[in-house]
């Protein structure tokens, strides 16, 4: 969290994250461009600019596959959460690698011509009515444009300027970029029938991403669909048993068709807040109370238990909900309180408190 905008607020995790990413990218490029021609006569006979565009193009596809896998992986196993922490650097790096690929293509296939490069890119192949020979480059242009916009707006300034909802919607277009990349590769390199390994990788990438998203999505949808049972006809919902809540952790419920609600237990008291972080819609309820503040597991944004506001000088806010106990059952009014409303955490009665809490996760 920061009250002022800086290009990058570095910390040890981000440095390690970027270092690993750069090592993997450099290893890929060096093996492809330096070791490959030493081992393969066919590569040695191929023009170096064409090798470079192949190296950076295939690398961009791999990076995009990994970056899209991070979200569902982190949903399926919270131990993958560190991958999500600095995902925007991953995305920016992907955009740079894709742009490098495009630059080599422009400087080779579309250069040395009486037609200017960019004009040639859009006019040299107009076989729109056929699959084989379709100007697949245009799918690459579309994907690169999206990746460039996402990279340019990946900073928190844009998140704040555009609002989290709009920013999130824009960044969901990365899936359109991926679809365009799949078409770009399928109608280009694969249709040529000369790249069996790339074909295998493309379909493996597509299959893996579809499977991960379907599994994670199915789990989330099932949780939302089940909702939390309504108590009598009061409208309040039963989130669970107080003994299920580990100290400084939460359980998460949902009103049917409504927003998810997290009920935290800390120092013998219960507090209900929105499960949706105001930063990037992270799952606050999967976070932890750290130094008395609810801490989102995605990027560490923090909120006070009593009013859902970030401590000064920060200005983020999430909704608070009324919470009550019926015996050991935790009940929540799914009607949110106005943002910033102060509501003291509910003390757990001594006799209920005596019941053991769920084991803490760390």
């Amino acid at each position: 969290m920061s009250v002022s905008y800086q290009p990058v607020i570095w910390n040890r995790t981000k440095i390690i994250y970027d270092a690993v990413l750069i090592v993997a990218i450099v290893a890929y490029v060096l093996i492809f461009l330096k070791l490959g021609p030493m081992l393969s006569p066919a590569m040695a006979e191929t023009n170096p600019p064409i090798l470079r565009m192949r190296a950076f193009g295939s690398l961009a596809l791999i990076l995009l596959t990994v970056v899209l896998a991070i979200g569902p992986l982190a949903r399926l196993d919270v131990r993958f959460m560190p991958l999500l922490y600095n995902r925007r650097h991953f995305g920016v790096m992907t955009a740079i690698v894709a742009a490098t690929h495009a630059w080599y293509v422009l400087a080779w296939y579309f250069a040395f011509s009486p037609t200017p490069q960019l004009l040639a890119l859009f006019t040299s192949n107009t076989s729109f009515a056929q699959v084989s020979g379709f100007p697949f480059e245009l799918f690459g242009v579309f994907a690169l444009t999206i990746l460039a916009v996402l990279a340019a707006t990946s900073h928190d300034f844009w998140l704040s300027f555009l609002s989290p909802a709009i920013w999130k919607a824009i960044h969901m277009s990365v899936y359109a970029a991926y679809a365009a990349v799949v078409l770009h590769v399928a109608l280009g390199a694969l249709a040529d029938g000369r790249n069996a390994a790339l074909g295998v990788f493309l379909f493996a990438s597509l299959g893996t991403l579809c499977a991960l998203h379907l599994i994670a999505g199915r789990r989330e949808r099932a949780a939302d669909k089940a909702g939390s049972p309504e108590v009598d006809r009061t409208g309040w919902i039963d989130i669970g048993d107080v003994s299920e809540i580990a100290e400084n952790r939460a359980i998460i419920g949902a009103a049917p068709g409504g927003e998810r609600i997290a009920v935290f237990r800390s120092k013998g008291k219960l507090s209900a807040i929105s499960n949706v972080c105001s930063h990037q819609n992270g799952p606050v309820g999967e976070g932890k109370v750290v130094l008395g503040l609810v801490t989102c597991p995605w990027h560490g944004y923090q909120y006070r238990l009593e009013d859902g506001c970030s401590p000064p000088p920060f200005k983020e806010r999430i909704r608070k909900y009324r919470v009550a106990l019926s015996g050991t059952r935790v009940l929540v009014d799914p009607e949110p309180l106005p943002l910033g409303t102060r509501l003291e955490p509910l003390a757990i009665p001594e006799d209920t408190l005596a019941a053991p809490a769920a084991p803490s996760g760390g």
Binding site: I25, E45, C296, G300
Partner: protein, 254 residues
């Protein structure tokens, strides 16, 4: 209801990393870098040979003398000499440029041309360097090239390429990835060639022309770099075969 997480809690700005997350991340980092290295290796080695085409150096004498055929694309007709049959050499310029404009001014003259050959099998093209000019002393009688020999009507299966890249100026210089480049070359005046899957009179490469002997029809730009079946007449000019396309086979090609 979603169960609360039971694992260690970590946010990027924390100094301590829970043991279970540290273990998984170490395994992930090793797998991540290893996978990238392995993928580079596999994808790099999955490269087809671009074929035998390559730059073949300048003419043995440094330059060649002959006369120019302007259509369908500039071709240098070199008269036979003792021990050397007559030749018809396709001409292209630097980059994705043809030499039609320069050749136009040299029509009906004895011409001296220098440059570099690109050659792939029986496909040969002279990339004109700086020198392409009329001989200082024009001979009284220009050699008369042999008249084209009609080899009949043919249906040929193959691929339309730009002759320069296909001959080895780019490696590879054929295929779908190269389609836009081929179109730019052909549009720029580089002679297009048809690479046939089966030879005609021992030749697999044909200079492409329209049915009336002019430049390749523009509609064929949609057919470059893909398998296609075309029909037309084939004629021989010295050692060069010209495919005068009049249509696409109705039952073949894409």
């Amino acid at each position: 209801m979603l169960k609360p997480p039971e694992r260690g809690f970590f946010v990027g700005y924390f100094k301590k990393v829970p043991a279970d997350i540290r273990r998984l991340m170490l395994v992930f980092i090793a797998t991540f870098i290893g996978t990238f290295a392995a993928a580079a290796f596999v994808l790099a080695l999955d490269t087809d040979s671009p074929g035998s085409g390559s730059f073949a150096g300048p003419p043995p004498e440094g330059e060649i003398t002959g006369t120019i055929d302007l259509l369908p694309y500039p071709v240098l007709r070199v008269a036979a000499s003792p021990g050397s049959p007559a030749r018809a050499i396709m001409l292209a310029g630097t980059g994705k440029f043809g030499v039609s404009d320069r050749a136009e001014k040299l029509k009906g003259k004895s011409v001296v041309v220098g440059g570099f050959f690109v050659k792939r099998g029986d496909l040969e093209m002279l990339l004109v360097g700086g020198k392409m000019k009329a001989e200082d002393e024009q001979p009284a009688d220009l050699p008369v090239p042999q008249a084209p020999e009609d080899l009949g009507r043919w249906r040929l299966t193959g691929e339309i390429c730009d002759g320069k890249c296909a001959a080895g100026a780019m490696r590879p210089g054929t295929g779908l990835a190269h389609k836009a480049c081929a179109n730019l070359c052909i549009s720029g005046g580089v002679p297009p060639v048809f690479v046939s899957t089966a030879p005609v009179e021992g030749r697999s490469f044909f200079l492409m022309a329209s049915a009336d002997g002019g430049p390749m029809p523009a509609w064929l730009l949609n057919k470059t770099a893909i398998p296609v079946v075309l029909e037309g007449r084939v004629e021989r000019r010295d050692d060069l075969l010209v495919f005068k396309v009049d249509g696409q086979a109705k039952d073949g090609g894409t």
